[in-house]
């Protein structure tokens, strides 16, 4: 019989009736255990119908907070298998996203891409079953939009307008300054006095 303490002495009764007794007894004990389990509730879950909840730290398919991402490539550099690829154009502070893709044929869900992120914008999600008949489906696109959003366009326009305005203001100021300087030229000796 099973004890959590190691049995004191090795048991090796190999006599004729000892063998018969051991065979009958151990088979009976084993059949008792299996018979008990025949009537207990199964441990398994019926997978596609019922799914076990995944834990908060679960490392599933990534999700990206695209509006936070600054396209620094830190995650791509940290990846041991080079499965992260991204492309974007910078328009001043705004990013025109082309793609941010992860190749799940390569990804090994190690979470090493999450740690170096300065903006904490790439995370491991809760989705885990990536079932497909086409290998190319494993190349997942994480961006929710490509190109520029209206907001971004607006902000770029604003920024450009602001920039233009600033430029104009600067030019104006410069002109004014020059004018002032020109006007103040005769006063130069006064400055020199100081």
């Amino acid at each position: 019989m099973a004890t959590l303490q190691e049995p004191a002495a090795p048991a090796s009764d190999r006599s004729y009736w000892g063998n018969v007794w051991h065979a009958v007894k151990s088979t009976a004990v084993g059949m008792g255990i299996t018979f008990r389990y025949l009537w207990t509730k199964p441990f398994t879950t019926q997978y596609p119908d019922e799914r076990l909840p995944v834990d908060g730290r679960y490392r599933g398919i990534h999700y990206l907070e695209q509006d936070l991402c600054i396209y620094c490539q830190a995650c791509a550099k940290a990846c041991p298998v080079d499965c992260i690829d991204m492309g974007a154009q910078r328009h001043g502070k705004e990013l025109e996203w082309e793609f941010f893709s992860i190749d799940y044929q390569k990804c090994m869900f190690c979470e090493l891409c999450v740690y170096p992120c300065p903006k904490d914008c790439i995370h491991m999600g809760e989705q885990y079953s990536l079932v497909t008949e086409d290998k190319s489906d494993f190349l997942l696109e994480l961006t929710s939009w490509q190109g520029l959003t209206e907001e971004q366009k607006l902000r770029i326009a604003e920024a450009e307008a602001a920039k233009a305005a600033k430029k104009a203001a600067a030019a104006k100021a410069k002109a004014a300054k020059e004018a002032a300087e020109a006007a103040a030229e005769p006063a130069e000796p006064e400055e020199g006095k100081e």
Binding site: N19, G30, T40, P42, Q46
Partner: protein, 375 residues
């Protein structure tokens, strides 16, 4: 021979089916036509029975295995607990490509599943499902069953050799060694009930256990102390004879991949599969007929003469046999597999001597009874 034989329980004569046919068919038919019709009808009944049985047994096996292993087993085919799984598998096996290796010995390869299944079918003719529900009530019923079911071995050897696969060959050779050895303890273990009933006819044995309101089974008789160990011996030998775990060496999937049927696919594989369940049922039925009162159960004798009697008797017999089939499954999902030399050692060093001992005890008991009670 036996003092315990109740006088009413004389062995029923003849075959219910032939009598029935004889009544139904027009008069004046030659004898051979009657016999032929009887044979065809019997074959159809047995084949249908085995096919349904195999389907039910596969489903049962998977459910038993599943629940023993704290899981569900098939659940998706059919509405209730995957009841249609075996049906779906049967259809799949039927429409699957029938592969025959180019290097295989084709005649043997193709013949093997037929030999295996037909011998299993043949053994069913001597099986009494009810008081008169027997295809051929042979005087040497037990002898016939043991003899015919061992022909299966030839089929298995043919399959193993014909596959031209080393694993299959190993499976076949193991089957040959194992079954040849276990014929002895199997035959010997049947001697105890045979001595008690004084007959080799299963129908007779069944009729003799109908006393005590249907509870005069061999295991409850005065010789119960012989019956119980002898049944254990019989059951062990039967497991080996039917290639069931722990004696499933011919297929032993963790050593021989799939043993003798590694190279079989489709319907040919299904034949081996059906044979396995047919053989399991056959051995269970023999055990039921000899130890567990055949078709008798309490209250059956009250229905004698009514329409219900025969169907209930058959149902009782099939249920009891299926319970033994369940025990075979239960054992399979509990114990590990024995090694071939240990199979031999168990057969020759343990089962055979113990059977001989039991025979001695059974014979002495009959002798003691004869002296003490003067029967």
């Amino acid at each position: 021979m036996s003092a315990a034989l109740p006088p009413a329980a004389a062995a029923p004569q003849g075959n219910g089916l032939t009598e029935l046919l004889g009544g139904l068919l027009p008069d004046g038919l030659p004898f051979w036509a009657l016999a032929l019709t009887g044979a065809v009808v019997s074959f159809a009944i047995i084949f249908a029975f085995i096919a349904v049985l195999a389907m039910f047994a596969t489903w049962l096996e998977r459910k038993v295995a599943g629940h023993i292993q704290v899981r569900y087993g098939p659940m998706r085919t059919g509405a209730w607990h995957g009841w249609a799984q075996a049906l779906a598998d049967g259809v799949k096996l039927l429409i699957k490509e029938d592969l025959v290796l180019t290097s295989a010995d084709k005649p043997l390869f193709k013949l093997a599943p037929m030999v295996v299944l037909s011998t299993a079918l043949a053994a069913f003719v001597a099986l009494p499902f009810g008081p008169n529900a027997i295809v051929a009530d042979l005087d040497l019923g037990i002898y016939f069953i043991i003899a015919i079911s061992s022909i299966t071995t030839f089929g298995v050897i043919m399959a193993g050799w014909g596959s031209n696969n080393k694993w299959s060959l190993y499976g076949a050779m193991r089957e040959a060694a194992q079954v040849a050895s276990y014929e002895i303890p199997l035959g010997l273990s049947l001697m105890m009930p045979v001595m008690y009933f004084g007959s080799l006819s299963l129908n007779h044995a069944g009729a003799m256990q109908s006393g005590w309101y249907g509870m005069h089974w061999y295991v409850f008789s005065d010789a119960f102390w012989i019956a119980i160990p002898s049944f254990a011996l019989f059951f062990t030998a039967a497991l080996a004879e039917t290639k069931r775990a722990p004696f499933d060496l011919p297929e032993s999937e963790s050593e021989l991949v799939a043993g003798f049927h590694t190279e079989y696919s489709g319907i040919r594989f299904a034949f081996f599969f059906m044979e396995e369940y047919a053989a399991m049922y056959l051995m269970s039925a023999v055990g039921t007929a000899l130890w567990f009162g055949a078709w008798n159960f309490p209250g059956l004798s009250l229905l004698e003469g009514t329409v219900l009697h025969a169907p209930l008797a058959v149902a009782a017999f099939v249920t009891k046999s299926l319970l033994l089939v369940f025990v075979m499954m239960w054992v399979r999902w509990t114990v590990p597999r024995i090694r071939i030399d240990q199979v031999m050692a168990l057969g020759y060093k343990y089962l055979t001597p113990l059977c001989l001992l039991m025979i001695l005890l059974a014979a002495s008991w009959e002798w003691v009874k004869a002296i003490a009670f003067g029967a």
